[in-house]
């Protein structure tokens, strides 16, 4: 694990492939959650090659090859990529190895798996739905702790 003694970064999160693909295709909770990273350069989206591979496969299946390739390039420019062991649940492992505090998923089974791992002390991440994350993540409250000073508001155009 790469997280330091202070624990995982509260301004870093991983999103599972269902959330990443829903962000692209559906204008709803997933997009609102990912907009947190797109609008703030101090908020880190953590991902891994296997996680992007899964998402790219979904985008190719539901969209087309060009959309999948361009989504991949854009996602790589937004995310911080980390390595993790082959066979791990990619979103959970990317969060753990990237020192992120949150995992976004729409899969209840991942929530249960992460809760079990957390109870056994193996991981220190919280799995949230995109809606829950968007509702609970408050940049204005977090900024003084993570960056310091008064929250200046969003610093990036989330659609660029």
């Amino acid at each position: 694990m790469t997280e330091d003694a202070d624990g995982p970064d509260p301004a870093a999160f991983a999103a599972d492939a269902d959330v990443l693909a829903a962000d692209l295709f559906v204008d709803g909770d997933a997009r609102e959650a990912l907009d947190v990273a797109r609008t703030h350069d101090w908020v880190t989206l953590v991902a891994s090659e296997p996680l992007l591979d899964d998402t790219e496969a979904v985008v190719r299946a539901l969209g087309d090859d060009d959309l999948a390739a361009e989504w991949r390039a854009k996602a790589e420019s937004l995310a911080t990529l980390v390595d993790h062991p082959e066979g791990d649940q990619p979103a959970l492992s990317a969060a753990v190895h990237g020192g992120a505090a949150h995992v976004l998923s729409m899969d209840d089974r991942l929530q249960s798996a992460a809760t079990g791992a957390a109870l056994s002390g193996r991981v220190d991440v919280s799995v949230k739905s995109p809606a829950g994350f968007a509702r609970l993540f408050d940049p204005e409250t977090l900024y003084p702790t993570v960056v310091g000073g008064e929250y200046p508001g969003p610093d990036r155009d989330p659609r660029e």
């Binding site: 492939a17 269902d18 693909a21 829903a22 692209l24 295709f25 559906v26 204008d27 709803g28 997933a30 997009r31 797109r38 899964d54 496969a57 979904v58 985008v59 299946a61 539901l62 969209g63 087309d64 959309l67 361009e70 989504w71 390039a73 854009k74 420019s77 729409m106 899969d107 989330p158 659609r159 660029e160």
Partner: protein, 34 residues
Amino acid sequence: MTETTWRDLFDRAADHGVTVEDVQKVLADHRDDD
């Protein structure tokens, strides 16, 4: 070459009419195949 914007990607993706349920099913099938 101009970099693709998120706005452009979202506009093109919307043309496919995909739902959250579609995403979940395709991802589940993809991971089951691995």
